[in-house]
């Protein structure tokens, strides 16, 4: 397995810690004028999302992690796995629930997602910034209320619930910001 020395540390570097893939989010060199240098490192465990800290004596080595971000098309969910495909090679990948957990409600078939692969397996999925989804349930709004002063909850086909303006009705398609989980506009 390839190793990476502390002097190659930089933000975004992927490495293995206790067998889990991690990415460096902050690397500060502590070099006292009269002593041994250390790297103060903040890193995110890509499996759990937790940010941890460790201080490495300079010159220490860590194992490099085979982690890469690829753009894949979301195909379907078979009840257990979420299936993705490389649009060029047609290679398919299946992601377990842990990898899609928070974003499953934003996965729309045919959409291109950024999938992080660790040893070739998806470990996390980033959906597009905006997705278009149909409203399957919401209270009927008052006719003529187009000012959108208030809002009402609406359930979308994927099960996601977002606040929408009163005039938006069941069966309509809406554009949603997936980072904030907020309604953007009606889809044309």
């Amino acid at each position: 397995m390839a190793t990476v020395s502390t002097n190659e540390f930089k933000n975004g570097l992927k490495f293995l810690m206790d067998g889990q893939p991690c990415t460096i989010v902050d690397n500060t060199i502590v070099q006292p004028g009269k002593g041994q240098a250390f790297n103060r490192v903040k890193y995110r465990n890509l499996m759990t999302g937790r940010v941890l800290e460790k201080t490495f004596k300079s010159g220490e080595k860590v194992e490099a992690a085979d982690v890469m971000d690829t753009e894949l098309q979301y195909l379907y969910n078979d009840g257990e796995f979420w299936h993705f495909m490389d649009a060029e090679s047609f290679e398919q990948f299946q992601a377990a629930e842990a990898a899609v957990a928070d974003v499953a409600k934003w996965l729309v078939e045919q959409d291109m997602c950024v999938v992080t692969l660790f040893n070739g397996d998806p470990i996390s999925v980033t959906p597009p910034k905006q997705v278009t989804l149909e409203i399957v349930e919401t209270d009927p709004g008052l006719k003529g209320d187009t000012a959108g002063t208030g809002g009402k909850p609406a359930t979308l086909t994927t099960g996601a619930v977002v606040q929408v303006p009163l005039f938006v009705q069941i069966g309509e398609k809406v554009i949603v910001n997936t980072e904030k989980g907020e309604y953007v506009s009606r889809a044309k």
Partner: protein, 325 residues
């Protein structure tokens, strides 16, 4: 765009005025500015300093000659002191390879000065006076010995006697993140980690903190205390948790210089680091004309400017950062 140009000029002006202010401090005290050479055939053997080097084509020499860029102007300044220069200061660039952080650049500006006949406390007072003259607000001076700093800020009664395990326990007690790569018996390194991870973040918060009486192993080229062979006559100055200056009561004896250098070279060998040629010009000068009794200090100018302007990243006070050159 206009705004950017004005800000740029403003930033350059602040730096220019700051350098002028530092020089004025020394002119007023009859300390002479010397612009010693940055290149030398000898390098510092210090275990923790990495010198850059260049190949020079010297006329008459078939092969290119290796010269090192100085990590501080200490050696040529000491030669000048031996040759009768009197009080001198250097304000200019030095180079230390391998470290770029919000507090450090590979190429940075150093202020180093030597005062004949000054004791360490006298020099400490002068450093604090200089620092206070450029800080936005005057600060009180807090002086602590190395041992007192460990008592007050880390809860270790006697760091000289403490075991490696006591140091590790102290780090755990202060919730320091896990340390990777340090042998559990390596007391010196655990002690250093208490200093950098526990103590230093608390230093100079509202005052100028001076730590003195370092362990003899950190003496570098400072004298050892006559009364206590464990103590080096060395100090460091901290403001806002940042190490700002580092001073010695200077070792004078030529043989002691060679001995300290040889010890450093042995350490380099032990750690698998390349050997470096010693500054033989310094050693022969010291032998011929002893260094007068003096104290000297080196101060990080970019760091002091950061404190003076209240900015947090060294890249904001230099013209261009190392990575932008």
């Amino acid at each position: 765009m206009q705004q950017t140009i004005i800000n740029r000029r403003q930033q350059l002006k602040q730096r220019s005025q700051f350098l002028q202010q530092l020089r004025a401090f020394f002119y007023a005290r009859d300390v002479l500015e010397v612009d010693t050479p940055m290149l030398s055939q000898g390098a510092t053997p210090d275990l923790h300093l990495r010198s850059l080097s260049s190949e020079l084509q010297i006329p008459g020499q078939a092969n290119k000659q290796n010269y090192f860029w100085h990590t501080s102007p200490e050696y040529p300044m000491k030669r000048l002191l031996c040759e009768g220069s009197g009080d001198i200061f250097y304000l200019g660039k030095v180079f230390r390879d391998g470290d770029i952080s919000p507090r450090h650049q590979i190429e940075f500006t150093m202020l180093e000065w030597y005062r004949l006949g000054f004791s360490l406390p006298q020099l400490i007072d002068e450093v604090c006076e200089l620092v206070n003259s450029v800080l936005p607000e005057q600060r009180q001076i807090q002086k602590l010995s190395y041992q007192q700093a460990f008592q007050q800020f880390a809860g270790i009664a006697d760091i000289f006697q403490a075991s490696a395990q006591e140091c590790i326990d102290c780090l755990n007690r202060h919730n320091v993140p896990e340390i990777v790569g340090v042998d559990k018996d390596d007391k010196v390194l655990w002690e250093q980690l208490i200093l950098t991870e526990v103590i230093e973040p608390q230093l100079g918060q509202c005052e100028i903190t001076v730590i003195h009486d370092f362990p003899a192993r950190d003496a570098a080229l400072a004298k050892i205390d006559d009364a206590n062979p464990w103590i080096a006559k060395r100090f460091e100055v901290f403001v806002d948790a940042m190490e700002l200056a580092n001073g010695y009561n200077e070792l004078a004896d030529a043989d002691s210089y060679r001995q300290r250098f040889e010890e450093s070279l042995a350490h380099r060998l032990e750690y698998g680091l390349p050997q470096v040629p010693l500054d033989e010009n310094l050693l022969s000068t010291l032998k011929a004309k002893p260094l007068p009794e003096c104290s000297g200090v080196a101060l990080g100018v970019d760091r002091l400017l950061m404190l003076s302007l209240g900015v947090k990243d060294i890249a904001q006070v230099v013209c261009f950062s190392t990575e932008a050159c």
